[in-house]
């Protein structure tokens, strides 16, 4: 933070065509080079943690599913997992497999969305349209499962609410086959296209040591060669599917894009494997205990590690629920990786950490005008 007298300040945001949600970054630039960045977060807050304390705990499931639009089912599963720990419920194995399958479907949908938006941020609009057209296969699959294209809403505390019968399982396998064929059509553009590489290789460098010290999560840190992924802890059915995280060593936007593309293939493989291995059994387990005590639960969202801390006291209300979503720890690495680059690179670098600002929690206090 040296002397800033002769520097121009460019405000990026809160509205920008490349940003899905509002965030403001104040750039101090010297000619074309970025010297300093200051974040200004705080535009989207809905008081969710306070609302969780006021509602009774079984309705909070519906509230938590609506924290983020894209990664909704994993938020719901994390909340349900937290309550299951607080009430000592053991989820049946079939329900764990079903939750895993649907979490991977959500991850597919999110990564395909990001790949399309990234292509558009670079300027490659037809690739964006093609990727989103293939994303429709996943959305129609979600609609056939429970009726909405994005909000699956199949989680319940203690299991899942519906089962997958023979016909639906067959449809999943067919659609995964179709999707894989379509993704093969354009994935080579990401791997080998010269224009794409020109725009992303060597931009937004996050060295390995910095990634660890700044606490990055998700594909941001996996693009720097560190195999950090919550799914290795084996929650839900990941322990039985033999999961290994995907890493690339480039430390730049290109590797982060490749990490997400490889995760698309990995998700398709996991869904197929889980459907073939689906065991029999009940799909929900109910018991008669209120949430009591302290528990923490972490899962892997498409953007990184989400952390829920909950405290119950044996009544219908939770005393405290703290939610830390993955984009929040990804902001300090973002500030670090922007320094030294040019102004024209800002949209792609900001986009490469997959910002989902609506997940983060801030406060907006509204006063009625007198």
């Amino acid at each position: 933070m040296s002397d800033r007298q002769n520097l121009t300040v460019i405000p990026f945001g809160p509205q920008h065509p490349v940003l899905p949600e509002p965030i403001q970054l104040l750039f101090h630039v010297d000619e074309e080079k970025i010297v300093d960045v200051l974040p200004n977060i705080g535009y989207v807050h809905r008081g969710i943690e306070r609302a969780i304390e006021l509602n009774d705990y079984r309705r909070n499931l519906y509230l938590c599913e609506r924290i983020c639009g894209i990664c909704n089912i994993i938020h719901g599963q994390t909340y349900a997992g937290l309550i299951e720990k607080l009430t000592d419920t053991e989820v049946p194995i079939r329900a764990k497999y079903l939750r895993t399958i649907w979490a991977e479907v959500a991850r597919l949908q999110s990564h395909l969305l990001w790949l399309g938006l990234f292509a558009e941020a670079i300027g490659f609009e037809s690739l964006f349209m093609k990727v989103w057209r293939d994303r429709e296969i996943v959305l129609e699959l979600t609609e056939a499962t429970n009726g909405h294209r994005i909000h699956m809403g199949t989680t319940a505390i203690g299991g899942v609410i519906k089962d997958m019968d023979e016909k639906l399982r067959g449809r999943y396998l067919t659609d995964m086959g179709r999707l894989e064929k379509e993704v093969d059509d354009w994935s080579h553009v990401f791997y080998r296209d010269a224009a794409f590489k020109e725009k992303t290789m060597g931009k937004g460098i996050l060295p390995k040591a910095d990634a660890v010290q700044l606490g990055a999560v998700g594909p941001t840190v996996r693009g720097s060669g560190i195999p950090q992924d919550m799914r290795t802890t084996g929650y839900e059915a990941y322990g039985e599917l033999g999961f290994k995280p995907v890493t690339h060593d480039g430390c730049d936007s290109y590797s982060r894009a490749l990490v997400r593309l490889d995760e698309v293939y990995q998700s398709i493989g996991l869904i197929r494997q889980a459907i073939k291995q689906l065991p029999e059994g009940p799909i929900i387990e109910k018991n008669d205990r209120f949430p009591d005590g302290v528990a923490m639960y972490r899962t892997e969202q498409p953007r990184g590690e989400v952390f829920y801390y909950g405290k119950g006291n044996g009544t219908i209300h939770l005393e405290r629920c703290r939610i830390r979503t993955p984009t929040l720890p990804n902001i300090p690495p973002l500030l670090r990786m922007l320094i030294g680059h040019e102004v024209a690179d800002i949209p792609t670098i900001v986009h490469s950490i997959d910002p989902c600002i609506s997940c983060t929690e801030r406060i907006t206090q509204v006063k009625e005008a007198a």
């Binding site: 309705r59 606490g215 018991n287 972490r298 830390r324 005008a369």
Partner: protein
């Protein structure tokens, strides 16, 4: 599951000055900072820093007074600045040594003339727990959903105790109650209400088998030193005696005849309610309550009773006078009242010979009881004559269908005009047509003038209702119907004297009398300086969840009532309704929708 359990207790509590030391230790172990949680506890603040180390989560706890500045951990973990800035703006606390200060930009204040955002006030969705429609239909408010769950789990003792909390004679009720709860069950829409009465009997008989009797080992409350007299040994009297005894009072029960039970003893036939079981249960309750019973003692003078040193009295003498047939020749030989017949059969165990043809006049449960008793005494042609239509009969459906199965004939819309004495007797009946509805909603029968038919019978049983007579010596206010006048607390016009059951409300049923007994016990206890008994309230702290397999439950059928065959039944007075077996009982109890859920 994964090992995130470390640090879920307050073992990692550090004082304020030890915080940086602890954080440095964690940094040396290679910990990664996750986030910070703050909690406002009124006077104090609780601060929790979450770290991930060695693959699991560890928490560092701090407790400090409000207003005290918190040591920031940004000197060790600069990335914590976002979490700490947010905490600072949300909770208005100060952080010392905060590395990057975002200048209060986290808290945004927006002023807007018309805004859809409203500050959260309190829990908006209604958090309620209902009692359950079955429980609300029961006059005594027995906790039906709870004891059905206990029968489902096989815990008959708990179910027995749940029922006794509000109605003290489950074994008797499981056989004789008219079960208004079953008509209130929500599954009556699908024509399969839960067989609540059968489950009650399963609980009582199951407890009796396991316990070797019906006497429980229960503690009475400490003795209050007050004495209460209960006049009448029927359901209302025994119920009041039980609850008053359990509250610690010293109770004396006076019964005019030689058996306890009142209308249950003489009125309900032996094939419905075996008398030894009835006596066993009534005596069990009185033993548990420590009450003294004085049989064959009639009380007619209230002043003399109170002089014996009682602090309060409860009148539950019931009803015992039969309504007149109001036709010529009703006192001919061979015309008997149902009270006389049933008392002879049920209490004195006689088997009077009624001849071959019997006419029963009346349409209620007493008429059914009289007719079916007549069949068992050997009468071959038993006909019930009722002046209204079949659907307007006050008798319960399963009594009526049982009577039809036992070859009882019915003649509707016939009213008696004259009885000609002789052997055999001849009755002249007049046919009626339904006219305008009267106050009870049923259509008043209008005689068809000039028409009549004659019937020859050996015995006529009159069963058109009964009423109560209050002795003058009680010195209480009596209404024009012959019942004692009471207020909402069952208090009569005389100080310290309460009344309930048939004598106060006119002829009703067993479960209403049990309710009156409990209510009077509560009022008397309050009159004598106690707190009374509690009223049913939905308990939000009890957790009841709906079953997970509701579709499978909906597909089950209702358990049928297990009974002996009709031809077998009329051979004797043995109890013809059989006990539901354990497996069917669990299946039927599992069908309950748990309308009082609170999950």
């Amino acid at each position: 599951m994964q090992a995130t359990e470390t640090g879920t207790t307050y073992e990692n509590m550090v004082p304020m000055d030890g915080l940086l030391q602890k954080v440095r230790e964690l940094k040396q172990r290679g910990a990664r900072f996750i986030t910070t949680t703050l909690r406002d506890l009124g006077e104090t603040m609780e601060v929790i820093h979450h770290f991930e180390v060695d693959g699991h989560v560890e928490n560092v706890y701090l407790k400090l007074r409000k207003g005290e500045p918190i040591q920031s951990i940004t000197p060790e973990y600069p990335v914590a600045f976002i979490a700490e800035n947010e905490a600072r703006d949300l909770f208005q606390v100060e952080f010392k040594d905060l590395a990057l200060d975002l200048g209060g930009k986290m808290l945004r204040v927006a002023t807007s003339p018309s805004t859809l955002l409203k500050p959260a006030e309190g829990p908006r969705p209604p958090i309620m727990r209902k009692l359950g429609p079955c429980r609300e239909e029961c006059p005594a408010m027995v906790n039906i959903p709870r004891y059905i769950r206990e029968v489902d789990a096989g815990d008959y003792e708990a179910a027995y105790n749940t029922i006794i909390d509000r109605a003290p004679i489950p074994a008797i009720l499981g056989r004789v109650c008219f079960a208004p709860c079953q008509d209130g069950c929500r599954q009556v829409f699908e024509a399969k209400p839960i067989q609540i009465r059968l489950l009650k009997r399963v609980a009582a008989d199951g407890f009796r088998e396991k316990n070797g009797g019906l006497v429980r080992s229960v503690q009475r409350k400490p003795a209050t030193g007050k004495r209460v007299a209960v006049i009448g040994g029927g359901p209302a009297g025994v119920s009041a005696a039980y609850y008053l005894g359990m509250l610690g009072h010293s109770v004396t029960l006076y019964e005019k005849s030689g058996t306890l039970g009142g209308a249950m003893a003489w009125g309900i036939p032996k094939y419905r309610l075996p008398k030894d079981l009835m006596a066993e249960e009534l005596n069990a309750r009185l033993t548990e309550a420590g009450a003294e019973t004085r049989l064959n003692t009639e009380v007619t003078d209230m002043d003399r009773l109170m002089e014996e040193g009682y602090d309060a009295a409860f009148i539950a003498t019931g009803a015992g006078k039969c309504n007149d047939l109001r036709c010529k020749g009703e006192d001919s030989e061979g015309v008997i009242t149902f009270i006389d017949l049933l008392t002879a059969v049920n209490i004195r165990n006689e088997t009077p010979d009624l001849g071959r043809r019997v006419a029963v006049i009346g349409g209620g449960n007493s008429a059914m009881d009289a007719a079916r008793t007549a069949r068992r005494l050997g009468a071959e042609e038993v006909t019930v004559y009722y002046r209204r239509q079949e659907e307007e009969m006050p008798a319960s459906v399963h009594e009526l269908s049982g009577a039809i199965e036992e070859d009882v004939n019915f003649d509707f819309l016939s009213s008696q005009i004259i009885i000609h004495p002789g052997k055999p007797l001849t009755i002249e009946f007049q046919p009626m047509i339904p006219g305008e509805p009267d106050d009870s909603g049923r259509r008043r029968p209008v005689p068809m003038e000039g028409l009549s038919h004659m019937v020859e019978v050996d015995t006529i049983i009159s069963a058109i209702g009964y009423f109560s007579v209050v002795p003058q010596g009680f010195k209480v206010e009596v209404s024009r119907h012959g019942t004692i006048v009471i207020d909402d607390d069952l208090k009569t016009s005389r100080e310290g004297v309460y009344a309930g059951g048939d004598i106060a409300y006119g002829t009703s049923n067993v479960i209403s009398a049990l309710r009156d007994g409990r209510k009077a016990a509560s009022s008397i206890d309050r009159y004598l300086g106690g707190e009374g008994l509690d009223e049913p309230e939905p308990d939000m702290s009890e957790f009841v969840s709906r079953q997970a397999n509701l579709d499978e439950i909906r597909a089950r059928d209702q358990a049928p009532i297990p009974e002996m065959e009709a031809y077998e039944r009329v051979q004797s007075f043995a109890e013809f309704e059989l006990l539901l077996d354990r497996c069917s009982a669990a299946c039927e109890a599992g069908r309950c929708w748990r309308c009082d859920w609170n999950e």
